[in-house]
């Protein structure tokens, strides 16, 4: 039985990573691919993946290849859990609410050439 996902407060960088998993919840994702898609360097990405995995949002496994035939060791992949997907939806909604500009305020732009 899949354990329930713990609550995590998302930062924008974490949101950029978890969104990739939500695009296809069955798709296993690898470190380099995530770095490229999320635009995060390896040093930022791995701590984020660790937090998600420890919170039960992600699960990881080893790539199913023959290392001798491929000439390289098997990589670690990550996949989002069912409860992780629900938690991610919820937290992304909360984050989006947090950054949403107030609806009642109109954006007033100063005319071009004017000084403040």
């Amino acid at each position: 039985v899949e354990p329930p996902a713990e609550d995590l407060t998302l930062t924008p960088k974490m949101a950029a990573v978890i969104k990739i998993f939500l695009e296809d919840t069955q798709q296993p994702r690898y470190g380099l691919e995530l770095m490229r898609l999320a635009g995060q360097p390896s040093g930022t990405l791995y701590p984020i993946l660790m937090k998600f995995e420890r919170a039960g949002w992600l699960t990881s496994g080893k790539e199913d290849i023959d290392p001798k035939a491929e000439g390289r060791p098997a990589r670690r992949f990550y996949r989002i859990t069912g409860s992780g997907a629900l938690a991610a939806h919820c937290q992304l909604a909360a984050l989006s609410e947090h950054y949403r500009p107030p609806a009642t305020q109109r954006l007033r732009l100063a005319p071009q050439g004017s000084t403040a």
Binding site: P4, S42, R72
Partner: protein, 196 residues
């Protein structure tokens, strides 16, 4: 020395230079791959011995090998890609080690509003749940009473997650808000039954 002898000597010298050039090329290619690996090994020295197995051997090194192999025919790309990957890890290795230790130690059963008998599910902290419930009228343009009556007139489900999924799809709201509505509905219903 005749012109013919000079020409032969020149040809031999050209052959030797070409062979040497090829050898130097191979040598440089070998070193290009070693540089990112050396940086990665250096980064791994910041990890605890136990972490080295799980982080360095299982994750960092296979990913670097894949990156280098992927750009096999492009030595400069390989060098840039491998060095960027390894250098970023070298800079953050101490932080990664700390994060790994912290997440490993602090992993305790979540304090949540969901009960353990409910099996697979999303666990909202009470604070997050309250925050979501408070935002629902503004986000969905409907108050909770309207959502509750929609749940009552909807199909019956055994599990909260199934009901939340149905509500999210039926009403076109995010799963997180749907789950919060269903959860709040169940909480109030339970309270009503206890009070009755």
């Amino acid at each position: 020395m005749t012109a013919l002898a000079w020409a032969a000597l020149g040809a031999v010298a050209a052959l030797v230079m070409a062979a040497l050039g090829s050898l130097i090329n191979d040598e440089i290619r070998g070193w290009l791959d070693l540089a990112p690996r050396a940086i990665l090994r250096l980064a791994a020295t910041w990890l605890d011995p136990a972490q080295r197995e799980t982080i360095y051997q299982d994750e960092w090194l296979p990913e670097l090998c894949y990156a280098l192999r992927d750009a096999e025919s492009r030595p400069i790309t390989r060098l840039i890609r491998g060095t960027a990957y390894a250098t970023s890890l070298l800079i953050s290795a101490r932080r990664i080690a700390r994060t790994e230790r912290a997440t490993r130690i602090s992993r305790t059963p979540p304090q949540s509003v969901a009960t353990s008998t409910e099996g697979v599910g999303l666990v909202h902290s009470p604070n997050l749940h309250s925050a979501l419930i408070a935002r629902i009228p503004a986000v969905t343009s409907r108050d909770l009473a309207e959502w509750f009556s929609r749940l009552e007139s909807g199909p019956t489900f055994l599990r909260r997650e199934e009901r939340a999924h149905w509500l999210a799809e039926d009403a076109g709201i995010s799963c997180g808000y749907a789950y919060a509505i269903v959860h709040e509905y169940e909480l109030r219903r339970r309270l009503r039954l206890r009070g009755a």
